[in-house]
Amino acid sequence: MGGASLKKAPFFMDILINGNSHTHKGTGSLDDLLKELEANPVAVAIMVNDRVIPKAERVAVTLKPGDRVEVLSFMGGG
Amino acid sequence: MSEVLPAEMDPSVWLSLAHTASESDVRRALSNEAPTEADFAALVSPAAEVFLEDMAQRAKHLTESHFGRTISLYVPLYLSDYCPGGCVYCGFAADRKQPRSRLEPDQMLREFGALKTMGFEEVLLLTGERSPRADFDYLCDAVTEAAKHFSAVTVEAFPMTTDEYRGLAAAGCVGVTLYQETYEPIQYHALHRWGPKRNYANRLDAPSRVLEAGMRHVGLGALLGISDPMFDTLALYRHAHALRRKFWQSGVTISFPRVCPQEGGYQPPFSVDERFLARIIFAFRICMPDVPLNLSTRENARFRDGIAGVGVSKMSIASRTTVGGYSEPTCSPDGQFEINDDRDIETFFTALRTKGLEPFFKNWDRVYSGVGISK
């Protein structure tokens, strides 16, 4: 079957985001997820199932149902 | 092999201050709660001479805070005077004519017995430079036996490898003393005419190896008078400071052996008068208040009594610097250096107690002073 150029078809997926249930509508890519959350990709850090996903590796990640995602950003702190 | 003082020990940058410090530099040093290296240089400088009494008062106060009104006692036991070395200033140099000997195990036992009867719990075992008749194994065996009898066994011998120091520690040694003699490389070479001691860098690094091996204490010192005493004093301070910074879980002890002119023998090129000696002892006490400062029987009774508890916290007494000599007359009549305080223990105790000082033989039990935490 085809290579990386084939676009994946969008679908629904139940995952956890920041501890809350969320139904993701998209391809399961982190890019899609961030768009869904209206988050600036540069201003957030992502963990999937307790693993920190470096920005460079985001493109390699596809979410699965039940995945626990943490999306974090900076706030003021001492 | 580098024949140069490493930067952390090189006192050159402080020499000028040590000679030209002003009275206000000394005053500032005396009032500084946490004296710095610059303060040390001011306190050993000639300008500090007029403040000697103030320095003594401060030194006494600090000695009392850190050590109480007590003096820790130890005794030196020379195991052997075999020595291949050629140190110009030393009674054991290889070109000296006296017959050499070493203690055999049965003699050692008798010496240990005699010392224990006198009350000693801390013994310093000494040899000359590494020689076939007094090598590492001989020393290690002696430590093993001594550790059965004394609460604290320390050693003053030849520079060893880290592994050898570990071996000594395992045998029961809790501390090693090794004087650099002089930190000045050119003079060092002139004075150490032949033998393994010519290796300046190896000797300089040895105290670091002692502590690397996990040994609890290392004793430092310079033989004052064989070279510029100001240079050596400042370098000694830097050496102690560097070791304490790196090996913060171990202790450093500082001694102040002052070489005396020998009749018909070695004449030290630099004169070190007792006011200078007192000044540097006070300066070390003020700048390193928690470091034990040690004075041997090279110094006379008057000086020792005066300075006990005023900076000095540790002393030897009833010493012999010949091989053995405590249980029976020794075979080697000539000691390593001349003893100037030959009082017996009873007399010494009385003198100290008159000053309000309590001499003690035993500090920690050896089981608490074993090899330290590895890094």
Binding site: A43, S73, F74, M75, G76, G78 | R28, W248
Partner: protein, 262 residues
Amino acid sequence: MNIEKKFVLGGQEFESRLLVGTGKFSSVEVMLAAIKASGTQLVTVALRRFNRERPSDDLLSPLAKLGITLVPNTSGARNALEAVRAAMLGRELSGSRFVKVEIHPNPHHLMPDPIETYEAAKQLAKEGFIVLPYMPADPVLAKRLEDAGCAAVMPLGSAIGSGHGLSTTEMMKLIIADSGIPVIVDAGIRSPSEAAAAMELGCSAVLVNSAIAAAGDPVAMAAAFAMAVKAGVSARRAGLMAQSCYAVATSPLTSFLIEGKT
């Protein structure tokens, strides 16, 4: 250590010895203005969960514009594992290797956990982070953290937000005397004079947060702190005058010495 000529952390030299925390400000605008006024080059930030109902104020770009180095802290972590994870996230976000290890499991007094802090610092130093551990003012712990590879130690002055100033002065002196790395006092500083005092004591830098954020005029207070830190550094370098020695009347101790006796 005595005040070194340059303030160097993780191989980078910093002009300003005032570090500023970004928490507790009434608004991002005030916070940014205060940071500018402070002249700081190092600010701490914390991680929080992104929440799109409350669009996160982007701290990254305005701070970057000021040429500030971000120091993500691990606040919220209750143990070393969580702190290491927070540090990884922080590095991801900031692109900087700096991390302030901050583990305070007790929410009432916010005292740092020495054991978890040591474990986290050791691990993070191995991973190549420039580790600044927030710690109790303990001289032995400070040396352990130094041995573990930290770039500095950050002993507390007093409890976070308490404004009780330098209550740990005696311990700070011991830490400063033995430390081979910069000592940055963190937490509890309330006034610029306390910051100056910390510098006169020999600290390499101070970290101030609440005292600026909760001041009546945070921007003016930030500027005041900047001046105070500079004053403290200058004073230490200038050499404070000798205090008068207390006179203790005892009998002379040096009469036993004979002049010229060798």
